[in-house]
Amino acid sequence: MIRIALKDLFARKRRLVTTGIAVVLGIAFLTGTQLLSVSLSDSIKSLVGDVYSGFDAVVRSPRTQETPFGQPIRTQVPAGLVDQVAAVDGVGAAVGVVESPGPEIVGNDGKVVGGGFGPPTLVYNWIDDEGLRIGSLRQGGPPTTAEQIVIDFRTADSLGKQLGDELSIATTQDGVRPYQIVGISGLGDDGSQSTGVRPITFTTAEAQRLLNQPDQFNFVAARAIDGETQADLAARIGEELPEWQVLTGEAFTAENQEQISQFVDILEIFVSVFGYVALIVAIFIIYNTFSIIITQRTRETALLRAVGATRRQVIVATLLEAIVVGLVAATFGLAAGFALATLLLRVLSGFFTISSTVPSLAGGVVVLAVVIGVGVTVLSAVIPAIRSSKVPPVAAITEVAVDRTAISVSRRIWGAALVVGGVALIGTGLAQTGPNPLYQVGGGALAILVSVAVILGPLIARPVSRAIAAPFSLGGLIDGRLAGENAARSPKRTAAAAAALTIGVTLVTLIAIVASSIKASADDAISSSVKADFVVATASLTSFGAIPADSADAIREIPGVAEVSPIRFTLLRLLDPVGVASATTATTVPAGQLGAPSDAPPGEDTFALGIDPASWFDVVDSGGLEGSPEDLTAGTMAVERKFATERGWRVGDTIPVYFVATGVQPVRVAVIYDEQLGQGSILLPLATFEPNSLPLFNTDSQIFVTTEPGADTAAVKAALDAQFADIPTVSVQDLQEYIQSQTGPINVFLGIVYALLGLAIVIALIGIANTLSLSVLERTRELGLLRAVGMTRWQLRRTILIEAAIIAVFGTLMGLVIGIVFAGALSVAIAADNPGILTFQLPVVQLLVIVAVATIAGVVAALLPAWRASRMNVLEAVSSS
């Protein structure tokens, strides 16, 4: 029995490949990311270890706050602390270290180097003590004047710079200006390593000046005298300087490694999503393939049963076949994953040093591949296997080829029950009558998706197939008619072949609509509230406030400019009862950290805007105001009405707020406004913002500019452009450009989603091709007859291509409809929670493109089966039995 199953399997190698290919893809993505992240984590950990390898202890401020960017923000330490640390027993040497983002490198093309994603440009100060210096000099010497810098070899190489060359750096103090490269450095003992960040080392005074932190360091690093352990040294410093936070060098390195590996984790999760999508779609394809094979094999199975095979043997034989498919797919998937990881590592090694460009094959990954490969395949084959065992021996002598069984009653009941249940869940979710409306809507949507795609699909496959075929059969075209009937003849098969596509398209439609709605909402909000004619904004997401400090004043001098309103961004922590209740910050102290614990009390982290109260409400329509902008003096803030209402804040209330720079401060609510722009639920007048913010955030991030009535806006724009022509960190935007820049990240997100669609479509198409191949095989005699009575090869090909198009359109339309319904439900649910936040918008063009792409791809998928069918020998086909 087992031999029979295996023989059959290997006799059809092509089917083995097409059945397993979806699993291969899924496993490739999953194992590839695992292998990549293991290798990457190892490399990054060893690199980060290299950066701080000379540190035995680090002394820093306990004033810190977590941020959504991964790296916490922390206040600086005074220069005087260096001597205090140096005086502690056991300290061999202590130095102040400047380490911060801020200035950006301007490339040879006049643009910011590495603007956007990826490792940042960091400012360091030159450290004389060789033991504590970060990295080693490969060439040249230290910077001795303010105009001199040391950069790392990889930055130098990528920009084609050599010792003695000049490098342009964008600063907020002096705009873009040249610095002279006097040294080239690298990490590790021989300076041959690089973490991928672009370190620029200035003299200490220049580094501090560029970061607006004169006489301040980001932390103090110390090295021990011989015979002193890191733990003893840290403990001693902690005792002597209890108001500061002290870490052993190892703990400091571990903390940094931890923060960087979070990024690796995100990368891993991101790529894994592709793997999971592939596997989910794979389940449908394997299920459908096995169902068809088993139906076609009915006679064979019946014969086996007739000569004495038990039902159990039949099931085992089928499952065995699935196991073999799974094993083969797992093996190929693992190989492909290995290749993927190797490729990605090679690409990444262009950015930073990687210990090995070949991933290490961990045993766990192999087990994962086999378990998932076999698991998914066997799971998908269980139902077909059980069905095959139910074939009665008498079927051996009756003519059964196609699964024409009616849609069973239980299927109707289950399908209806799931739809009703799903609708009920969505309904109650929308009516806000449950513990978690969003989850209810989501769960209901899932139930409907499963029901429609899997259970009810076959019910509508027949009429819908015929309807789609109708335009193809106009004018009595027989191939269109035949294609429609072929798609309709086995609705279960058509629905199952289309289900994979349905799921992919549903996901993408849903996300595309939500994204488009978010964009439309942002568009609405900005265009209705922003009254500025131009916005001067930092060009990249990573440069916090990169607008030169004197810009606002310079803009005021431009003729025709009416109002100039700069804004800044910062993070703060709300310590009101609502904020404290929603605190999520962990308060565990990591091993190796001594002295003062982090002093931020638990509370809710939120963004705040720093504004100029005299002009802000003129450039941005904030709706009705309670209180006057004139009341926004030092120690006050303005709050958006909904935000204030939820927390029970009223004008005049004083709220405790934690600032990283200054600790807990009372801030009084002076104004409550009705409409907010973007994330601006809390506005701090600059009088409150400036003294309470870190230097990093105390630079203008955007400047809103209005023109005088009747002014020549083109001339103003030209003047603004001229003003910032040489500063690549700053862009001058009109309102439309500003809207685009604000919604830009959504486009990046959409790009990823479309890549996902591409993957799901490719896999779904393999499924359609598989189904059609099997159908063609099954219809050999019929196709032979058609050819015999005069169907040309081209007509036959057209028939099969149209059938594929029908299946693809069926799957896509189902996905489109479900996706639109879900997006509608979701936006209602979101709007119920946050009125006005989401404007439901159908991205018609994108949706049409999705349909077109899926349909064309469906036809492409059928090219091979169609070609093969058209080449078959007519005589053999008509005389085959």
Partner: protein, 249 residues
Amino acid sequence: MSMTTTPSGTAAAGAVDAVKVYGTDDTEVRALDGVTIDFERSRFTAIMGPSGSGKSTLMHCLAGLDRLSAGRVRIGDVFLDDLSDAKLTELRRDKVGFVFQAFNLIPTLSAAENITLPMDLAGRKPDAAWMDQIINIVGLADRLSHRPSELSGGQQQRVAVARALVSRPEIVFADEPTGNLDSRSGHEVLGFMRYAVSDLNQTVVVVTHDPNAAAYADRVVFLADGRIVDQMENPTAERIIDSMKQLGG
């Protein structure tokens, strides 16, 4: 379609020195070994012979379903041997009618659609009067909207005969058309073919091993080992059986 105006008596199809060889060297089988034959218009010919005699091969080659190893075949005045697959397909569609032993119909199409299939494939409208006439003769007027699975075996073969005739082909080939039918249905089907020849001036060639079926023909051609071994005009079942006995002995 001017075929019916062609004077009867000239050949609708024919083969000259037809040779068909399967396999090579040791396994070589000469299925046709120099067959020369003409099928005259408006006549009903039966090809008979034991299994392996080459009768099906001859029919397949004549109908453009298979190609000769040597020799020539023609339908009307078109020689098939040099035709491309596309031309051959067109020829089958327009000039040849087929009735197979079983599986003659496309299961997804109704009886009426099956009948007009060759015309639809050619993108032509069937001659309505001719079609009505044929449908009435085969007695399917009330079955036209049925699918093949809803028809009896005899009804299915009658639909196949109607399809073979509807485009007024040069010639109709039938390969064991009654092989799967009970005798009453078989006689009905053969009766329609006889009628088509006698009253509608069609040309029919039937391959069969059943003497009773062959007795419907105007002429019987006997094949054995790939050669024509005997011919008989105006046969009866008894004479055919006698002749077969002689050939077999």
